[in-house]
Symmetry: C2
Subunit: 353 residues, 2 copies
């Protein structure tokens, strides 16, 4: 009864996520002037007036993005909203409303959902954001949550990911690799617990990386600081799938290259600590480049803004923008240039993406 | 390792969907003036200016809202967008952008997703709407699609579901029960096919009801007609879960009652035909009141707008608004008053909700 039989099929994993999205959306035309920023950026910016609504979405699926064995429901509610807010923040806007849609299997109780919503309420309160819509439906298995976050900002302040220019400085908020380090710890303790159910998981001294994974924050503080210091970045993007992926995306969209200096990449002591726990083969810089869920910002600014930004404790200048033919590279302390590569997407394996 | 053990739990099915949503969202405060319309309506309306962004969402889950045995992927793409657009339309606004988020299991091929997107492109083109964002992630099983639809309209034109007043006329677009009738036919043919795989499904003479279920339309034509005729409804809501549910919701939010005249409820001949096919116990009016997915509009207008609306072929005046203590009732041709009741929500059973 289906229409799909007898058609040559391509596995969705073969293309990679970005190429797949490109292929699915390539034939869409833009019909409306009010579509100020559409496909290809972290969020959309829409509206006919001087102020634009900035709309970003995030979806989290049980078994893919979270494991109920070690995810407190309050943290989950907080996190999925943080991820949607981060999309709005990556356009240099502040989130003001969220809308939540859930598919829930019957094994979740009312009390469990109340826990989830306690987390959603907590992040809404912290970031002065309103829950402006909520819907629920059934699910065959597990929990899927989709969040739409909405902000509003002046047209001129909106920062796309395609505006970086040669010689611009490349800046980053926060630190990188720590969320993935947190996931590694949780997975290790889960494996040990499975082997021996009497085992008490030991999270001591890993509090920071665990919090980075379980309860990330949208960097609204950076958006506010930039506005207070009259800096509009030339480009900006959300770091969700590792610093390398974000840098490559920014370079691709802006038709430029970049040089990132390895020793300038902010890496927390906690991340290095996890790496040394796991053995010598795991390098903190690999986690920073290729780990996911950091929920930080990567952005470029004009060189003339250097004096303003150099003193900001929450922003690191990690490199600069180059000509496109130079590619996206990392320069090691030994002055070796390493081309950045993005991790692929394997849709048949649960992942952090 | 979870925090949920040893807590008294309540099955989510015991509360009913509306009561559950009410319980989960009751403690949220509103922090922003730009949240013009928030929780409790079909969509949200946000923004600080005279024009508001109207944002609605829809989510469809495989095995719950669609069955891949009989759902062509083009139709599925079309339908999920239509459902999100219908939320914007129910606020008396026209959709202008959509954003799509999908969780996809690896059994879907690139070609299958291209089919899905052909349907999304088709409805975008038909309704002059832009795809302004698209993301994809993995799923453990099946396909979940979440769509955010965005429109923009003058603050004064936005129609909430809580503005109905006593003596207002109650109006409805389209016809009711036909989408559910389409689902009944599809389920019947599927059951026969399962019993005998050589069986050829017979859809002849049921084209209309099948299209109503598989490929609903957002009623943008009604929004345009109302604007052209300078009518701003006093209240409006999307009919997604049957006419009874929509009428009861409108009455509850507006603190009023309503009388609907049974013989005025628009029911297509195709719906009656399905009912007679299925036997004498199935009444077309039951499908109209309690079937789902009609994707039509129920709205109230001032009596003074009667002359303007009476000639519109796509709008039926089905009743009027009464005092709250009269309740929400249907009056039969024999002049019997029957209290409207809403179907419950059973989250452990796949449903049309």
């Amino acid at each position: 009864m289906t229409e799909q039989e007898n058609i040559k099929t391509t596995n969705i994993g073969t293309l990679g996520k970005n190429a797949l999205l490109q292929r699915l959306t390539q034939d869409f035309e833009v019909h409306n002037e009010s579509t100020h920023i559409g496909l290809g950026d972290d969020a959309s910016a829409v509206g006919s007036g001087q102020k634009k609504s900035v709309v970003g979405t995030a979806m989290m699926v049980e078994g893919i993005h979270f494991d109920m064995t070690y995810t407190p429901l309050q943290h989950l509610g907080y996190k999925v909203v943080a991820l949607a807010m981060a999309k709005v923040v990556a356009m240099n806007a502040l989130p003001r409303q969220i809308m939540v849609n859930m598919a829930v299997s019957s094994r979740y109780s009312v009390e469990a959902l109340e826990e989830l919503f306690a987390g959603i309420r907590r992040i809404c309160k912290r970031y002065d954001t309103d829950l402006a819509g909520c819907d629920i439906c059934s699910s065959m298995s597990g929990l899927t949550i989709s969040v739409t976050a909405i902000g509003e900002t002046e047209k001129e302040s909106i920062t796309r990911c395609d505006g970086a220019k040669v010689h611009d400085l490349l800046c980053a908020s926060g630190d990188f690799g720590s969320a993935y380090a947190g996931l590694l710890i949780l997975e290790r303790e889960k494996a040990t617990f499975k082997a021996n159910p009497n085992f008490q998981p030991d999270f001591a001294s890993h509090e920071y990386v665990l919090e980075r994974f379980l309860k990330p924050e949208p960097r609204t503080d950076i958006v506010k600081w930039l506005a207070e210091n009259s800096i509009v970045p030339t480009s900006m993007t959300n770091v969700a799938d590792g610093l390398a992926d974000a840098a490559m995306r920014l370079c691709k969209e802006s038709h430029c290259g970049c040089e990132i200096y390895e020793e300038r990449i902010p890496i927390d002591y906690g991340t290095s600590h996890v790496c040394s726990d796991f053995g010598t083969n795991m390098l903190p810089v690999s986690l920073a480049l290729n780990g996911g869920m950091d929920n930080e910002l990567l952005f470029s600014i004009k060189q003339s803004d250097y004096e303003k930004i150099k003193g900001c404790p929450n922003i690191a200048i990690v490199g600069h923008i180059t000509e496109q033919n130079r590619g996206a590279i990392m320069v090691t302390p030994q002055n070796t240039a390493i081309e950045l590569t993005s991790q692929g997407w394997n849709p048949s394996v649960p992942s952090n993406e």
